[in-house]
Symmetry: C2
Subunit: 150 residues, 2 copies
Amino acid sequence: MSEQELSLKLFVVLSKAYKVVMESAVKDMKKHGLSATEFSVLELLYHKGRFPLQQIGEAILITSGGITYTIDKLEAKGYLKRVSCEEDRRVTYAEMTPQGQELLQSIFPEHAAVIDSLMAGVTAEEKETAITLLKKLGYAAKQHKRIKKT
Amino acid sequence: MSEQELSLKLFVVLSKAYKVVMESAVKDMKKHGLSATEFSVLELLYHKGRFPLQQIGEAILITSGGITYTIDKLEAKGYLKRVSCEEDRRVTYAEMTPQGQELLQSIFPEHAAVIDSLMAGVTAEEKETAITLLKKLGYAAKQHKRIKKT
DNA sequence: TATAATCATCTCAAATTTAAGATATTTAAT
DNA sequence: ATTAAATATCTTAAATTTGAGATGATTATA
């Protein structure tokens, strides 16, 4: 296979793996009334604490409109609140409420188990290798985007 | 890292790699007036010839509503037409028109080059490894889904 | 042959995502 | 201190995707 054919193949296989894995993961998130995007936001706040809206978008790769939409939803559900930044009045933080904390504490372990069982059949070594390669691929694609823009 | 942590990490890295790669790929497809889904359908027909609608959905992982929507779009653009199956009257094929053929002939090489340049920075060996692992992961996730359903 | 179950496609409304642009704030340059 | 450029968030309409259910066709079974 030529280099280009390899790239195309990788592109196709990446898309399929993502979609198949995501389909089951989303099913689990839906059980708790959360979309994939909502879950990602809560997971981020759960692990990193309060976070500026803009940076949430950068972290989970959604557009500004998507940020507003998702944060609105989560705020309406009572899982987080907007807190404006004192130092920079352009900035708004998203901060988990106690209800949000409780939710994640209660559902995260099961979620982790679902993801893990999804990936049974791939060994720990293989996962490590895949993580390394996908990180590298993601980094390469990000660079490509940056360069194109310039 | 525990097995479960590895799985979670892989899940996150897979999502990010997919989204970053897709973002640039979609930008290229848009240049030719095609969405990612539309492009996938045309690419499939280009390589495999006429194909039943249902099976298109299975191949590129979109729901039945999405199939109808996308095929409608492509038919309106004149790139394919619906052809009903003689043997089984439930079935409708999607079949590329000469215009569709021409379009793909003209844009596919550039598309392949874009995908390839996106992935510069990952060696051929690494691509091969990634392909193998992602196939395995996709397969594992598909099995998981099948089992869950039973 | 009825009947039930399955299958392929379509319809439609609701949910979500995207893209472009508006507003307010901050930073940098003159 | 102005002005211009950059940044963060929000608004809105359009595009897309999802999910549930309708319809028509086929297959399997009693």
